[in-house]
Protein backbone atom coordinates (compact mmCIF):
# COMPACT_ATOMS: atom_id res chain seq x y z
CA UNK A 1 0.00 0.00 0.00
CA UNK A 2 1.50 3.27 -1.05
CA UNK A 3 1.04 6.62 0.58
CA UNK A 4 -1.33 8.82 -1.37
CA UNK A 5 -0.58 12.45 -0.67
CA UNK A 6 -3.86 13.45 -2.28
CA UNK A 7 -5.90 11.40 0.16
CA UNK A 8 -3.65 11.88 3.19
CA UNK A 9 -5.33 15.05 4.41
CA UNK A 10 -8.86 13.70 4.08
CA UNK A 11 -11.82 15.90 4.88
CA UNK A 12 -9.83 18.31 7.04
CA UNK A 13 -8.52 20.34 4.13
CA UNK A 14 -12.05 21.18 2.94
CA UNK A 15 -13.19 21.68 6.53
CA UNK A 16 -10.44 24.22 7.18
CA UNK A 17 -11.37 26.22 4.07
CA UNK A 18 -15.03 26.24 5.08
CA UNK A 19 -14.21 27.26 8.63
CA UNK A 20 -12.18 30.21 7.38
CA UNK A 21 -15.03 31.23 5.06
CA UNK A 22 -17.49 30.96 7.92
CA UNK A 23 -15.20 33.11 10.07
CA UNK A 24 -15.30 35.70 7.29
CA UNK A 25 -19.11 35.65 7.11
CA UNK A 26 -19.44 35.97 10.90
CA UNK A 27 -16.87 38.79 10.96
CA UNK A 28 -18.95 40.57 8.29
CA UNK A 29 -22.05 40.21 10.47
CA UNK A 30 -20.26 41.75 13.44
CA UNK A 31 -18.75 44.53 11.31
CA UNK A 32 -22.26 45.41 10.15
CA UNK A 33 -23.87 45.16 13.58
CA UNK A 34 -24.85 48.85 13.37
CA UNK A 35 -25.63 49.08 9.65
CA UNK A 36 -29.30 49.74 8.84
CA UNK A 37 -31.04 47.07 6.74
CA UNK A 38 -28.16 44.60 6.99
CA UNK A 39 -29.29 40.98 7.30
CA UNK A 40 -27.08 38.53 9.19
CA UNK A 41 -25.86 35.52 7.22
CA UNK A 42 -24.31 32.20 8.09
CA UNK A 43 -22.98 29.09 6.40
CA UNK A 44 -24.79 25.79 6.96
CA UNK A 45 -21.64 23.83 7.70
CA UNK A 46 -22.86 20.27 7.16
CA UNK A 47 -24.52 21.17 3.86
CA UNK A 48 -21.43 23.05 2.67
CA UNK A 49 -19.06 20.25 3.67
CA UNK A 50 -21.22 17.67 1.90
CA UNK A 51 -21.06 19.76 -1.25
CA UNK A 52 -17.31 20.26 -0.88
CA UNK A 53 -16.75 16.52 -0.42
CA UNK A 54 -18.79 15.52 -3.44
CA UNK A 55 -16.85 18.31 -5.20
CA UNK A 56 -19.75 19.11 -7.48
CA UNK A 57 -18.67 22.50 -8.62
CA UNK A 58 -21.21 24.18 -10.82
CA UNK A 59 -18.55 26.60 -12.00
CA UNK A 60 -17.19 26.61 -15.52
CA UNK A 61 -13.59 25.63 -15.85
CA UNK A 62 -11.27 27.94 -17.76
CA UNK A 63 -9.19 25.90 -20.16
CA UNK A 64 -7.67 28.87 -21.96
CA UNK A 65 -6.05 32.01 -20.61
CA UNK A 66 -8.39 34.21 -22.66
CA UNK A 67 -11.59 32.62 -21.40
CA UNK A 68 -13.79 34.83 -19.29
CA UNK A 69 -13.88 34.00 -15.62
CA UNK A 70 -17.31 32.86 -14.45
CA UNK A 71 -18.40 33.89 -10.99
CA UNK A 72 -20.56 30.81 -10.43
CA UNK A 73 -17.76 28.75 -8.94
CA UNK A 74 -17.00 31.50 -6.43
CA UNK A 75 -20.33 31.09 -4.70
CA UNK A 76 -20.13 29.67 -1.22
CA UNK A 77 -22.34 26.61 -0.76
CA UNK A 78 -24.75 26.73 2.16
CA UNK A 79 -24.58 30.52 2.59
CA UNK A 80 -27.97 31.86 3.62
CA UNK A 81 -29.64 34.44 5.81
CA UNK A 82 -30.05 33.83 9.50
CA UNK A 83 -33.54 33.61 10.98
CA UNK A 84 -33.84 36.77 13.10
CA UNK A 85 -34.21 36.33 16.84
CA UNK A 86 -36.65 39.21 17.13
CA UNK A 87 -39.17 40.46 14.57
CA UNK A 88 -38.19 44.11 14.40
CA UNK A 89 -35.13 45.98 15.61
CA UNK A 90 -36.27 49.34 14.29
CA UNK A 91 -33.69 49.75 11.53
CA UNK A 92 -34.07 46.50 9.58
CA UNK A 93 -30.85 45.07 10.98
CA UNK A 94 -31.00 41.40 12.01
CA UNK A 95 -27.56 41.05 13.64
CA UNK A 96 -27.55 39.80 17.22
CA UNK A 97 -24.02 40.77 18.32
CA UNK A 98 -23.91 38.35 21.27
CA UNK A 99 -25.04 35.41 19.18
CA UNK A 100 -22.58 36.25 16.41
CA UNK A 101 -19.72 36.62 18.87
CA UNK A 102 -20.48 33.23 20.39
CA UNK A 103 -20.68 31.64 16.95
CA UNK A 104 -17.39 33.28 15.96
CA UNK A 105 -15.64 31.93 19.06
CA UNK A 106 -17.13 28.47 18.42
CA UNK A 107 -15.99 28.58 14.81
CA UNK A 108 -12.48 29.66 15.86
CA UNK A 109 -12.24 26.66 18.19
CA UNK A 110 -13.43 24.33 15.43
CA UNK A 111 -10.87 25.85 13.08
CA UNK A 112 -8.16 25.06 15.65
CA UNK A 113 -9.51 21.52 15.96
CA UNK A 114 -9.22 21.07 12.20
CA UNK A 115 -5.68 22.46 12.41
CA UNK A 116 -4.81 19.88 15.08
CA UNK A 117 -6.17 17.07 12.92
CA UNK A 118 -4.15 18.30 9.95
CA UNK A 119 -1.07 18.64 12.13
CA UNK A 120 -1.54 15.02 13.23
CA UNK A 121 -1.81 13.90 9.63
CA UNK A 122 1.39 15.75 8.74
CA UNK A 123 3.23 14.26 11.70
CA UNK A 124 2.06 10.79 10.67
CA UNK A 125 3.27 11.37 7.12
CA UNK A 126 6.64 12.60 8.36
CA UNK A 127 6.97 9.50 10.51
CA UNK A 128 6.15 7.27 7.54
CA UNK A 129 8.60 9.10 5.25
CA UNK A 130 11.47 9.02 7.73
CA UNK A 131 10.75 5.48 8.86
CA UNK A 132 12.55 6.01 12.14
Amino acid sequence: MSISFNKALGVHEAALTLRSQRAEVLASNLANADTPNFKARDIDFSKALQQAQSSQSSGLQRTHARHLDSQIGAEIPGLSYRVPSQPDTGDGNSVDAQLEQAKFAENAMQYEASLRFLDGRFKGLMLAVRGE
Binding site: L16, T17, S20, Q21, A23, E24, V25, A27, S28, N29, L30, A31, N32, A33, D34, T35, P36, F38, R41, I43, S70, Q71, I72, A74, E75, I76, L79, A97, Q101, F104, A105, A108, Y111, E112, L115, L118, D119, F122, K123, M126
Partner: protein
Protein backbone atom coordinates in the same frame (compact mmCIF):
# COMPACT_ATOMS: atom_id res chain seq x y z
CA UNK B 1 -8.81 34.43 0.89
CA UNK B 2 -10.76 33.52 4.02
CA UNK B 3 -8.99 34.68 7.12
CA UNK B 4 -6.94 37.44 5.52
CA UNK B 5 -10.14 39.21 4.45
CA UNK B 6 -11.21 39.44 8.07
CA UNK B 7 -8.61 42.16 8.58
CA UNK B 8 -10.25 44.19 5.80
CA UNK B 9 -13.74 43.60 7.20
CA UNK B 10 -12.87 44.39 10.82
CA UNK B 11 -10.67 47.27 9.72
CA UNK B 12 -13.51 48.88 7.75
CA UNK B 13 -15.81 48.47 10.75
CA UNK B 14 -13.22 49.99 13.09
CA UNK B 15 -12.80 53.03 10.88
CA UNK B 16 -16.61 53.43 10.59
CA UNK B 17 -17.01 53.16 14.37
CA UNK B 18 -14.24 55.70 14.90
CA UNK B 19 -16.11 58.13 12.64
CA UNK B 20 -19.15 57.53 14.86
CA UNK B 21 -17.01 58.23 17.96
CA UNK B 22 -15.73 61.41 16.29
CA UNK B 23 -19.21 62.74 15.59
CA UNK B 24 -20.30 61.87 19.13
CA UNK B 25 -17.30 63.76 20.50
CA UNK B 26 -18.18 66.80 18.36
CA UNK B 27 -21.80 66.65 19.48
CA UNK B 28 -20.94 66.47 23.19
CA UNK B 29 -18.25 69.16 22.84
CA UNK B 30 -20.72 71.51 21.16
CA UNK B 31 -23.73 70.72 23.32
CA UNK B 32 -23.49 74.14 24.93
CA UNK B 33 -22.20 76.24 22.01
CA UNK B 34 -24.81 78.97 21.67
CA UNK B 35 -25.30 81.15 18.61
CA UNK B 36 -27.17 84.37 17.91
CA UNK B 37 -29.55 82.91 15.31
CA UNK B 38 -31.22 79.58 14.63
CA UNK B 39 -29.33 79.13 11.35
CA UNK B 40 -25.89 79.51 12.93
CA UNK B 41 -26.53 76.99 15.71
CA UNK B 42 -24.49 73.80 15.73
CA UNK B 43 -26.47 70.81 14.43
CA UNK B 44 -25.90 67.32 15.87
CA UNK B 45 -24.12 65.06 13.38
CA UNK B 46 -24.66 61.35 12.93
CA UNK B 47 -22.97 58.99 10.48
CA UNK B 48 -25.00 56.69 8.22
CA UNK B 49 -23.47 53.23 7.83
CA UNK B 50 -23.63 51.25 4.63
CA UNK B 51 -22.60 47.69 3.75
CA UNK B 52 -19.81 47.31 1.20
CA UNK B 53 -20.32 44.13 -0.78
CA UNK B 54 -17.51 42.66 -2.79
CA UNK B 55 -18.76 40.64 -5.70
CA UNK B 56 -22.41 40.05 -6.48
CA UNK B 57 -23.32 36.50 -7.40
CA UNK B 58 -24.73 35.58 -10.81
CA UNK B 59 -28.08 34.51 -9.40
CA UNK B 60 -28.68 38.05 -8.22
CA UNK B 61 -28.22 37.09 -4.61
CA UNK B 62 -25.12 38.26 -2.90
CA UNK B 63 -22.90 35.27 -2.36
CA UNK B 64 -19.71 37.01 -1.35
CA UNK B 65 -18.69 36.20 2.19
CA UNK B 66 -16.94 39.53 2.50
CA UNK B 67 -19.15 42.39 3.62
CA UNK B 68 -17.39 45.39 5.08
CA UNK B 69 -18.94 48.61 6.24
CA UNK B 70 -18.41 52.20 5.23
CA UNK B 71 -19.78 55.59 6.17
CA UNK B 72 -22.23 56.59 3.43
CA UNK B 73 -22.50 60.12 4.75
CA UNK B 74 -23.04 62.27 7.79
CA UNK B 75 -26.49 63.70 8.39
CA UNK B 76 -27.21 66.78 10.45
CA UNK B 77 -30.00 66.61 12.97
CA UNK B 78 -33.20 68.49 12.04
CA UNK B 79 -34.13 69.14 15.66
CA UNK B 80 -34.98 72.79 16.26
CA UNK B 81 -32.51 74.73 18.45
CA UNK B 82 -33.55 75.69 21.95
CA UNK B 83 -33.99 79.44 22.51
CA UNK B 84 -32.65 80.67 25.84
CA UNK B 85 -33.39 84.11 27.23
CA UNK B 86 -29.95 85.50 28.15
CA UNK B 87 -29.93 89.25 27.49
CA UNK B 88 -26.51 89.67 29.15
CA UNK B 89 -24.88 87.24 26.71
CA UNK B 90 -22.81 89.10 24.09
CA UNK B 91 -24.20 86.74 21.42
CA UNK B 92 -27.83 87.49 22.27
CA UNK B 93 -30.06 88.83 19.46
CA UNK B 94 -32.14 92.02 19.74
CA UNK B 95 -34.82 90.18 21.76
CA UNK B 96 -32.26 88.84 24.24
CA UNK B 97 -32.31 85.22 23.04
CA UNK B 98 -29.38 82.89 22.33
CA UNK B 99 -29.90 79.58 20.53
CA UNK B 100 -28.42 76.34 21.89
CA UNK B 101 -28.31 73.14 19.80
CA UNK B 102 -30.94 70.55 20.64
CA UNK B 103 -28.44 67.83 21.66
CA UNK B 104 -29.28 65.24 24.28
CA UNK B 105 -25.96 64.62 26.05
CA UNK B 106 -27.31 61.44 27.66
CA UNK B 107 -28.26 60.05 24.24
CA UNK B 108 -24.82 60.92 22.90
CA UNK B 109 -23.11 59.19 25.84
CA UNK B 110 -25.13 56.03 25.18
CA UNK B 111 -24.17 56.29 21.51
CA UNK B 112 -20.51 56.63 22.51
CA UNK B 113 -20.63 53.48 24.67
CA UNK B 114 -22.33 51.55 21.87
CA UNK B 115 -19.68 52.69 19.36
CA UNK B 116 -16.78 51.80 21.65
CA UNK B 117 -18.25 48.34 22.36
CA UNK B 118 -18.65 47.70 18.64
CA UNK B 119 -15.07 48.87 18.09
CA UNK B 120 -13.85 46.47 20.79
CA UNK B 121 -15.74 43.57 19.21
CA UNK B 122 -14.03 44.20 15.89
CA UNK B 123 -10.58 44.47 17.50
CA UNK B 124 -11.25 41.12 19.15
CA UNK B 125 -12.31 39.55 15.86
CA UNK B 126 -9.13 40.78 14.16
CA UNK B 127 -6.92 39.49 16.95
CA UNK B 128 -8.64 36.07 16.88
CA UNK B 129 -8.11 35.93 13.11
CA UNK B 130 -4.45 36.81 13.66
CA UNK B 131 -4.04 34.00 16.20
CA UNK B 132 -5.65 31.49 13.85
CA UNK B 133 -3.42 32.59 10.97
CA UNK B 134 -0.29 32.33 13.11
CA UNK B 135 -1.29 28.79 14.05
CA UNK B 136 -1.99 27.95 10.42
CA UNK B 137 1.46 29.19 9.44
CA UNK B 138 3.12 26.90 11.95
CA UNK B 139 1.20 23.88 10.62
CA UNK B 140 3.33 20.76 10.23
CA UNK B 141 6.28 22.08 12.20
Amino acid sequence: MGLFDIFDISGSAMSAQSVRLNTTASNIANADSVASSEGETYKARHPVFQTVLNGIGVSGQNNAAKAGVSVAGIVESQAAPIARYQPQNPLADENGFVYAPNISVVEEMANMISASRSYQTNVQIASTAKQLLTKTLSLGQ
